[in-house]
């Protein structure tokens, strides 16, 4: 029987530790496939975050660096400036990128670092036990907003893609979701494009991926996928926020 699909070379032969229904695994696979398809696996260096994806260095089948919480874009900057011909990506969650690492994210974009950032937004801190993230929705219950996030106390959800798109050094900024097969295919295209932007040396590229956290949302996996569609996408609309000028 012909093999119609197989494991991407971009992933190591290792079981994910992620919870049932979590979409980190899908996003890992899309990133790994993109790196493999572009033929750059051997010159890729990935930088992983602190958060649920902290063990990503075990999964991606390339050289990997584990960074301190929020510092992945700075670490990636160091690698890329030493090895300009390499392909460098960061893989970060919403706490890592949009709270403790906001400065590193904004300034990597401002410098137009030729790196690609995969930003996984699931509106909650996963690893530390379901606390409020900067991207938690208004009214959303978390362990630190037990009555729902109130703007009068905890402010508003941070719209990272919209913000980063205002920065001149950012060449490609887009938001995708992995809650349906159609959206997964779109996400794959966006990730491929982000790496191509890096390979062309056009500047900083960021793909924000709306992801699920059934465990901390208190939902079943199918309910979590519906929650992305019904609750998250209205606040975090999908689409391109910035594309390279020659493609406008």
């Amino acid at each position: 029987m012909a093999v119609s699909t197989k494991r991407t070379q971009g992933l190591a032969d290792k079981h994910f530790h992620y919870c049932p229904g979590c979409t980190h695994g899908i996003i890992h696979r899309l990133v790994a496939e993109a790196i493999e398809e572009l033929g750059v696996l051997e010159k890729t260096v990935g930088v992983c975050p602190v958060g649920c994806a902290v063990f990503a260095y075990d999964y991606f089948n390339c050289d990997m660096i584990e960074a301190a919480h929020g510092r992945a874009p700075a670490v990636a900057t160091g690698v890329k400036r030493v090895l300009p011909e390499s392909v460098v990506f960061t893989y970060q969650g919403d706490g890592d990128l949009a709270a403790i690492g906001t400065a590193e994210t904004v300034h990597a974009a401002a410098r137009g670092e030729r790196i690609t950032t995969i930003f996984v937004n699931n509106a909650v801190y996963g690893m530390t036990g379901g606390q409020m993230a900067p991207t938690t929705l208004l009214g959303q219950k978390t362990t630190t907003t037990p009555f729902g996030r109130q703007s009068s106390v905890a402010g508003y959800p941070l719209k990272v893609s919209e913000m980063v798109a205002t920065i001149d050094g950012a060449a490609y900024v887009t938001r995708v979701a992995v809650n349906s097969p159609k959206n997964i295919l779109r996400a794959k295209k966006a990730i491929l494009k982000a790496f191509n932007v890096q390979l062309k040396g056009l500047g900083f590229s960021l793909v924000e991926v709306l992801s699920t956290c059934p465990t901390n949302w208190g939902l079943s996996p199918p309910e979590a996928l519906r929650w992305v569609k019904e609750k998250m996408i209205p606040v975090y609309p999908l689409g391109d926020f910035k594309v390279p000028e020659d493609e406008v």
């Binding site: 050289d63 990997m64 660096i65 584990e66 301190a68 700075a74 900057t77 160091g78 590193e104 904004v106």
Partner: protein, 354 residues
């Protein structure tokens, strides 16, 4: 050999270039700014890169990335900025990456001031960040020695795969003295097969990491680090002795204060008081041997002089181990110890010995 007049901060930069450092990441802070100014001009001349980060936090993490990619890399800052870098230094120490961090110390705590100080001794030598780690710490006392010790710092960093700190104070950073540069040393950093450069040409992939979730595993890592520090302690202690052989009062001081102490040794000898100086060049590993030897020999008393409230004092007491009295004289807050003040202290000790 041609002598050139060079500012301390610039000498740190030129020393780094001579050591083969081609990447520098930093954030402005007084009184070390001439160092990044110098490298921003100098590194591009030798095909290197100077990059100004958005913070000290980012700078040290850029250093982490560059070191992981196999580069000889350096950053510099001054006390408050070095505090911000401590998280990154702890990660770099655990991930066993080589790099050099320069601290031109200023008055603290807090925002303090920009005057010279040595109040970051504990932070430098006891492991300023979290966890059980150590950094070799070098303390030059002249512009010439800056040039020489920066080269040594890079060599030690590569030899032990460990961050190395070089500390000076605002005076050393700001002053000018003649230096003899001579031909650049032969720089041959060891191969770095562990570097994350992409897997091309390699069978297995490299991971730079400081996360070991199983305590058994992390303990192994710690034991390996401790074995490394043990070797550092056995092989890397450096110090200078000045008229110390027959001295009955031994002054112990490092960096700029050691030069002030030297003047005191000379003036006291002229006055017939047998004073000598032991100057630690490495603050970690601390050169306890010459102190222990003096304590069992001619020395009747020790005087530790620092621009802090008594930090190296603890290491001196450990080395002397109660065999002889250890006195202390220090100024804080950016005040500089004067020759006359130390002379007064030495006379008091001498009177007490009679």
């Amino acid at each position: 050999m041609e002598r050139v007049l060079m500012k301390g901060n610039e000498a740190f930069g030129e020393g780094a270039v001579r050591a083969g450092c081609r990447h520098f990441f930093g954030y402005p802070i007084t009184p070390q700014s001439e160092l990044p100014h110098y490298l921003a001009r100098r590194l591009p001349e030798v095909g290197g890169l100077y990059l100004q980060a958005e913070s000290e936090v980012a700078a040290i993490n850029m250093v982490y990335g560059a070191a992981a990619a196999g580069a000889r890399v350096m950053t510099s800052s001054s006390s408050p900025g070095i505090s911000l870098m401590q998280e990154g230094i702890s990660y770099i120490a655990c991930a066993e990456l080589p790099c050099v961090v320069v601290n031109i110390m200023r008055g603290g705590p807090g925002l303090g001031n920009i005057a010279p100080s040595q109040a970051d001794y504990f932070q430098a030598v006891k492991g300023g960040g979290h966890g059980d780690y150590r950094l070799p710490v070098l303390a030059p006392a002249s512009i010439q020695e800056i040039i020489d010790l920066i080269v040594l710092a890079f060599d030690l960093a590569d030899k032990y795969r460990n961050p190395v700190m070089v500390v000076g104070d605002g005076i050393l950073g700001q002053m000018m003295e003649p230096v003899e540069l001579g031909p650049a040393p032969e720089v041959t950093p060891p191969p770095k097969p562990w570097a994350t450069t992409g897997t091309l040409g390699r069978k297995s992939r490299n991971v730079v990491n400081s996360l070991y979730i199983e305590p058994e595993e992390l303990e192994k890592v710690n034991l390996r680090l401790q074995a490394k520090y043990k070797q550092v302690e056995q092989e890397e202690k450096r110090w200078e002795e000045y008229r110390a052989d027959d001295a009955q009062v031994i002054i112990v001081a490092f960096g700029m204060v050691a030069r002030i102490a030297k003047a005191v040794v000379d003036s006291m000898r002229m006055a017939g008081i047998p004073v000598g100086l032991i100057r630690p060049v490495t603050l970690y590993p601390f050169p306890d041997k010459p102190l222990a030897a003096s304590a069992s020999g001619a020395a009747k008393a020790f005087l530790v002089v620092e621009m802090n409230a008594g930090q190296m004092l603890e290491d001196v007491k450990l080395a002397v181990c109660g065999r002889k009295p250890v006195h202390f004289y220090g100024r804080t807050g950016g005040m500089v110890t004067s020759v006359a003040e130390v002379e007064g202290k030495v006379r008091d000790i001498w009177e007490g010995l009679k």
